[in-house]
């Protein structure tokens, strides 16, 4: 959520998500997206080569939100 905060904290591995605060794993009921975030992190455990690298999941917030709205419509949770 906050790339600048991450860069100051200097974790050995980090995945930056350019999304709204409170949505670190995506949007409600979007299981595939929630899982994709976790898999990106797990994959990083295997492939990291140097400490401090920050990777980005290149899914803009507008796309995540749009997909979430469609899922909620299919589930009958919104008109």
């Amino acid at each position: 959520m906050a790339l600048d905060v991450t860069e100051h904290a200097k974790p050995p591995r980090a995945v930056f998500l350019p999304w709204m605060m409170g949505h670190h794993f995506g949007v409600p009921f979007h299981r595939d997206l929630q899982r994709r975030v976790i898999m990106e992190c797990l994959g990083f455990l295997e492939s990291a080569e140097r400490s401090g690298e920050v990777r980005t999941l290149p899914i803009p917030w507008v796309q995540a939100r749009r997909e979430g709205i469609e899922i909620e419509r299919r589930l009958g949770l919104r008109p």
Binding site: A2, L3, V5, H8, G22, Q34, I38, P60
Partner: protein, 172 residues
Amino acid sequence: MTETSDRGEGPPRVAQLRPGLWDTVNERYPGSMIDKADFVPLAPLRKPLSECRLAFVSTSGTQPRGSLPFDTVHPVGDYSFRRVPTTSRTDELEIHQLKYPTASANRDLNVIFPIDRLRELADEGVIGGLTENFYTFIGYNMDPERLERTLAEDIATAISEEGADIALAAPA
């Protein structure tokens, strides 16, 4: 997607939605932000993910219903943590934290505390399993040295005792 190339080299940076967060908070609360001088050495993965037990650590303030609520209004923060059994259903958990929007998490906790997704990955054998508990605290803590000396050390010890091979940490 908004992108900038302000570093002048390397791949373009993907912009965060709320820019300048570190500077803003640090100006209002000097010394409250973590600011490390160096990177820690990278710890390589020592066995396949399918054999690794995962611990999840979250600053989301998620906790079992009925447990002592985090003190979200203490002037210097709450340096305690909660254990969340990994067998918990999401309707057995609640959030006590004021510093981030919780509207979506209150509809589907997995957006901030993906306990269902992690359990699925363990059941499918993608990861070797989960620790008995996940660990949570709240991110509003004004003394980063105290946080590191007490809370971080306590949680690191606890997840080690639960046999964690890997940890996923999500600041909220």
